[in-house]
């Protein structure tokens, strides 16, 4: 069951406000996957650039609204990817952060990346939906075998990763970079071309895992420069025509000279 959580207030609808091709949050398998949250006014959608402290406070207030509308809360955050524009602000972020998650805080990784629209902070979170029953006890982990034509970079001989793992309700994909589906060779091109190849391959890979692009709940896209955002996005939206997944995009250094890398979590 994949349920789109609409923005609880109009300003939090980044799709409407800024044309971001993403849902505010997706609830699936007992978890709530939120799109990367930035400091915007929840009523008007106005961007509220400020300090790390002021942006992070706005973000947490927005997340509180969004999670509560999704049947969760800040107390039930599971994992946070905290993105800041410069590592030097780490302690500044922590001071504000601990006010919002004082007890049993979520697992967290802080990374320094380029964030959209000149923001200093973005929080990418997964939360647990409210409990109604205890979970069952045993769970299989299954590596998804793919045919050679289900291209992804793991076809490069001996790379020590699996392209996809099914676990519980979800399929977790490795970050995909542009590879030719026939020869499995690296296919470098424009951001648009790489994005198209990656998402085409992602669709095949998900199909091999018994899933599909329509079942994707969360996408993380890394591009080498945020200046290329629109070039990625214009292709991306062709692949997710309706009810797009929650999404986070950031600018980061990629290995091997690629321009785009995209990973996802999908319902199995």
């Amino acid at each position: 069951m994949r349920e789109v959580i609409p923005a609880p207030l109009p300003g939090l609808d980044l799709r409407r406000e800024y044309g971001h091709h993403q849902s505010a949050a997706i609830r699936a398998g007992g978890l709530v996957f939120c799109s990367g949250m930035v400091a915007i006014d929840p009523e008007t959608g106005e961007r509220q650039h400020g300090t790390v402290t002021s942006e992070a406070r706005r973000i947490f207030e927005n997340l509180k609204l969004l999670l509560e509308s999704a049947g969760s809360s800040l107390d039930r955050l599971v994992q946070v990817h905290a993105m800041i524009y410069d590592r030097i602000e780490y302690d500044v972020l922590n001071r504000l952060y601990r006010q919002y998650v004082p007890n049993a805080p979520p697992a967290r990784t802080v990374v320094s990346v380029q964030i959209e629209a000149g923001f200093k902070v973005m929080l990418d979170v997964i939360a647990a939906a409210e409990t109604r029953q205890a979970a069952a006890a045993t769970y299989p982990r299954q590596v998804i075998e793919v045919r050679i034509s289900d291209a992804d970079r793991s076809r490069r001989p001996g790379l020590p990763l699996s392209p996809a793992i099914r676990a519980g309700e979800f399929v977790f994909l490795s970050g995909l970079t542009a590879t030719d589906p026939v020869t499995a060779a690296q296919a470098r091109g424009t951001v648009a071309a790489e994005t198209r190849l990656i998402l085409t391959n992602m669709g095949q890979l998900l199909g091999a895992a018994g899933s599909s692009l329509a079942k994707v709940v969360k996408v993380n896209a890394l591009i080498y420069s945020m200046l290329e955002y629109d070039n990625m996005d214009s292709v991306y939206r062709e692949f997710f025509p309706t009810d797009p997944p929650a999404r986070t995009v950031c600018g980061a250094g990629l290995t091997g000279g690629q321009k785009v890398e995209i990973e996802c979590v999908a319902l199995a």
Partner: protein, 142 residues
């Protein structure tokens, strides 16, 4: 509508590896939610001294993965239960070296993985986080 899940904090048995507690940072070492465990980003911490173990990058990665194994085992899981990993390297040039170490730790059916190169703090050369399945079970397939 639909189902909810239990949420609980997990911590390493070895207190020296409880970095967030020792440094008073506002995150938990890991969170168990339903059938999954989400770990915070981990670095090359020395399990005896609790200090940073900043040697060659291969050794940093090995140390980090050993710490991750300890963390997961503390919660009744293990490296072989990892589903998805995210690796942040301080230097993209260490990519091949990382893969060499990966083969030592994950000789068969390695986890899904995403790697990128970003600024890291404290001079760490690597930071690794993961999502794993919780408790062992005789019925798991691989």
């Amino acid at each position: 509508m639909t189902e909810g899940v239990e949420r609980s904090v997990i911590e390493p048995v070895n207190p020296k590896l409880n970095v967030s507690r020792n440094a008073n940072l506002p995150h938990s070492p890991g969170i168990r939610v339903g059938k999954y465990i989400f770990l915070s980003g981990m670095g090359p911490v020395d399990p005896v001294s609790g200090g940073r173990n900043l040697g060659p990058i291969a050794e940093q990665i090995r140390q980090t993965l050993r710490n991750m194994a300890h963390m997961l085992e503390s919660a009744g899981s293990g490296l072989d239960r990892i589903v998805k990993m995210t690796v942040v390297l301080a230097d993209a040039g260490d990519y091949d070296e990382m893969n060499r170490v990966w083969r030592e730790f994950f000789p068969v059916d390695p986890p899904a993985r995403t790697a990128c190169a970003l600024q890291l703090s404290n001079g760490n050369g690597v930071e690794i986080e993961c999502v794993a399945l919780a408790s062992k079970s005789p019925s798991w397939t691989i």
